[in-house]
């Protein structure tokens, strides 16, 4: 790699980092860039391309949309129509708590013996002589 190629590579890296507006570059980088731009057609072409890109970004910026009142009204209506995530989350915890409590009550009323299957067996065969 020649010295010029090295400077061009550095310039392109700076161009991608700082953009096409040289006035916003750090002073030392800007001075190096200006020196290179005086003698390199390729550097000038890349700078020009970057400036075109930035100009076209500004020209094609989209801003128009529904008025603020309509957006706000839709947002407020949407809240009424769908439960918020927090309500759903709290309801889920409440449901989980209720199930745990119910399970605890069942276990308390029908305590398992040494072999849990005994309880199930007794329930299934109640009234039947299993001897």
């Amino acid at each position: 790699m020649t010295l010029d190629e090295f400077h061009l590579k550095e310039f392109l890296e700076d161009l991608d980092l700082f953009g096409g507006d040289l006035s916003t570059w750090p002073a030392d980088k800007k001075a190096e860039a200006e020196k290179l731009l005086q003698k390199s057609q390729t550097a000038r072409a890349h700078l020009s391309a970057m400036q075109d890109i930035e100009g076209m970004f500004a020209a094609s910026r989209v801003t128009g949309m529904s008025n603020a009142e309509a957006i706000a009204a839709n947002a407020m209506r949407a809240r009424q129509e769908r439960p918020s995530a927090i309500v759903v989350r709290r309801a889920s915890w409440a449901l989980a708590g209720s199930l745990a409590l119910a399970f605890g009550l069942v276990v308390g009323i029908f305590p398992f013996g040494e072999h849990p299957s005994d309880v199930l067996g007794a329930a299934l065969w109640s009234g039947t002589d299993v001897q």
Binding site: G19, A45, A49, I53, R61, V62, G64, A68
Partner: protein, 189 residues
């Protein structure tokens, strides 16, 4: 428009008023941020209609979550950064589902005029750029949109994407490089 002498309320104040059900405060917040959110959402999603839906959804989430907003909380950042983060994430999700098309504005034909050749060249270059933007990964597109469409600094852009400044700069560098190379293709440079 505010009358002379009226102090403009901060985003935090407007959002806390919205949390108490103040629709006027909320509409003022929407008015303040909708344009920049529309710009970035359109750029990232590549579709105005979808961008309008994204902006609507962003403000719906703001209204729903307003009671949980804690001004100054590190996980939230500023209201503006939080809104940007929601809009950018929704836009990135959307653009991953569907291929981004060039913005409609770039494809509109113009009537012939004395400078028709220059206009044609300009339109072709604009269409080339829009196509190149559409080819970028969504996160690179978002970083460019936050920089050029919202005018955010690298640190604010990073906050809006919830990434480090270094990671944001890397996205910018890669995005700019891809666009620069795409624009110079065929120019013999």
């Amino acid at each position: 428009m505010l009358a002379a002498g009226v102090v403009e309320e901060s985003d935090d104040v407007l959002l806390s008023r919205a949390a108490r059900g103040d629709g006027i405060a909320f509409a003022r917040l929407v008015e303040r941020h909708r344009s920049r959110l529309m710009a970035v959402s359109t750029r990232v999603s590549g579709n105005r209609a979808i961008a309008e839906e994204i902006v609507q959804e962003t403000f719906t989430r703001a209204w729903v979550n307003a009671p949980q907003w804690k001004p100054g909380a590190r996980e939230h950042g500023t209201v503006a950064a939080w809104l940007s983060r929601v809009a950018v994430n929704l836009s990135i999700d959307q653009s991953r589902k569907a291929k981004v098309l060039p913005l409609e504005a770039a494809a509109d034909p113009e009537d012939p005029a004395p400078s028709a050749d220059a206009k044609l060249i300009e339109e072709e270059r604009s269409a080339k750029l829009q196509a190149a933007i559409g080819e970028l990964p969504p996160r690179q597109r978002a970083a460019l949109a936050l920089t050029y469409d919202q005018g955010l600094s690298n640190s604010d852009g990073a906050a809006a994407m919830n990434i480090s400044v270094g990671a944001f700069e890397l996205l910018l560098v890669r995005g700019r490089r891809a666009l620069r190379i795409a624009m110079l293709e065929g120019d013999g440079t």
